[in-house]
Symmetry: C2
Subunit: 351 residues, 2 copies
């Protein structure tokens, strides 16, 4: 292959409807658009800035999101192409469509926009390594995360042959396990979390996609012409009939040429208020606060007041979030169950 750094590109996936931060997260402001990253930046902006600091020019960055979030994404990622999906079809069609807007010789990194990574130097070094690898070989590079706990909310990568330091073949993609399975996997040392970040040559990606989903791979020829404004409208007839399927299921679980770099950088998918809080600075009593947060005699709480004062009184290890959309109060340890509150509120509003 002949790829150079000039052929590198980044696709940022920003179409998620993340509701784990309800009531702060809404349809109009999903997780990636909340200021959950270090420095009070949105996760999307932090992802964008990480790509810039890794040496990617902004004209080599594309964001793909839902049509209604394009403007908000543009605000976070100035000077970047923002593509709107005509409808939700999960990541495989979205990545294929966005990839088609890059030149055929491109090496592309695919980055979710709603994860937290603070060690930008280590990230840039690992990304460099992945790009170099993808330029040299027809491999699908994933970033694996050494598990910190037997998480059941992540997919796992079962490591195959060791190729170099922190570089393995992937023997098998594993879907979210149950708790007991996760414990066995983590104890074995042979499994990494699947971070959902990938690097590959555009050709390598479409070749793999074509083998398993030729109808999606047919998007390869789509986007070399028109710009972001015309994108969704032009894409619609070709996108609509496609299956809604993740790139994991569509390609990575089946492809033989998947490798993984064990990340040297910190990583968290911020799956809950509690996960976010673990990365935030705390006040003298261990509280994480944002906005109009007025904890009184509280310890170890997460307190967010978005436009409305949130005033927990005498609490410990609780989450209290006040917004015009709703108020959440739960123990931090239950914050991964926020969906139950969201669904209850939605059901009540519909009744």
């Amino acid at each position: 292959m002949t790829s150079t750094t000039a052929d590198r590109g980044v696709i940022i996936l920003a179409g998620g409807r993340g509701e784990r931060f309800w009531p702060w997260s809404t349809a109009a402001r999903p997780k990636q658009l909340l200021p959950l990253a270090s420095g009070g930046r949105t996760l999307l902006r932090a992802t964008f800035e990480r790509a810039l600091r890794a040496g990617i020019d902004r004209d080599r960055i594309a964001v793909i999101t839902s049509q209604d979030l394009r403007e908000a994404c543009q605000h976070e990622c100035p000077g970047v192409r923002i593509y709107g999906e005509p409808m939700m079809r999960n990541t495989a069609p979205a990545i294929a469509a966005a990839s088609s807007t890059f030149g055929q010789e491109s090496a592309l990194a695919v980055l979710p926009s709603d994860h937290a990574i603070d060690d930008e130097t280590a990230f840039a070094a690992d990304l460099e390594r992945a790009f170099a690898l993808a330029a040299r070989e027809a491999v699908l590079v994933t970033f694996g995360i050494r598990p910190r706990a037997p998480e059941t909310n992540f997919g796992y990568l079962h490591l195959g042959a060791r190729l170099a330091e922190r570089l393995h073949r992937v023997a098998q993609f594993k879907e979210k396990p149950d708790r007991a399975t996760a414990e066995v996997w983590v104890a074995s040392g042979e499994y990494l979390w699947n971070s959902g970040m990938f690097v590959w040559g555009r050709r390598t990606f479409f070749d793999a996609l074509r083998a398993f989903h030729p109808e999606i791979a047919a998007l390869e020829s789509f986007g070399l012409g028109g710009g972001p404004e015309a994108f969704a409208q032009a894409l619609k007839p070709r996108f609509e009939p496609l299956p809604s399927i993740s790139v994991d299921y569509a390609v990575l679980e089946h492809a033989p040429n998947v490798v993984t770099i064990e990340a040297a950088f910190d990583w968290d998918d911020l799956g809950s208020w509690g996960a976010w809080a673990r990365r935030q600075p705390r006040d003298a009593r261990g509280n994480v606060t944002w906005g109009s947060a007025v904890p009184v005699d509280c310890d170890g709480c997460v307190v967010v007041g978005d436009g409305i004062p949130a005033a927990p009184l005498g609490l410990r290890d609780m989450v209290v979030v006040a917004t015009p959309n709703g108020t959440l109060a739960c123990r931090i340890e239950d914050s991964d169950q926020v969906r139950r509150a969201t669904e209850a509120v939605r059901a009540r509003a519909a009744s």
Copy 2:
């Protein structure tokens, strides 16, 4: 004396700024204007209706409140005279001013507007007894409540000579005690809570007031002329120089002719979210809910959503209140400390 039932009148005190139900209670909608009474009525409306059911005509009822709450009070008490205080001067001047609008031979009941009483039949009977007593003798009749607990938030009446069943002279008015003192008093059986409800002849009241505070008693001649609209403006020059003092301090602690009827009706001053909850119906899991309340997997909680969904998740014995003014979350047992949250939010807003 020659007083008849036609001379009876009721003064409802509705000038309080009750903030114990923050964030639901606000300056524009203090406690007496919240739907905290049975049947979802405001406490003020329930007080008004209690007076009606005790046989008082609405043209013999006067509400005295702050100028800015007059309209809201009128809405709750249709057909009643609503007087505005030109400024806050506590209950002695307010009662004197309101009393002056009744005829000289009137017997007057003074009723706070922010207490809960559900047994209207027993209330009417005790009120009848008090009116009859006040018509017969120059006494200041108070209603005492048999203590349910050694409360430190109430004044107490130390019982003197027994005059009849559930009727005693008051040996002494006692200010709010400390906990140890309250325990001794309650155990002795010789003390009742001071409910803040009174019945007396207008003449008897002004005579007593004149003995201790002639400057306030001078209001006796004030209000026989003009109507509610002109009241505050006309009252202002006479009201402004008066001391801000409660009727307890100004009269009842000093007067020799105070008696008390031990109430046969239920009574609660609803001093906290917890006190309110004790009188409310509960759902199958023991939660008290109002408005957009969406408790998920909660037990024994108080959940109020006023325009904003309140969604506590997995909690027990907690108060969660969501309003556009603020969000409160605390244990029910701490709900008597809400003032600390209110003050913290106010301090933050001012900073």
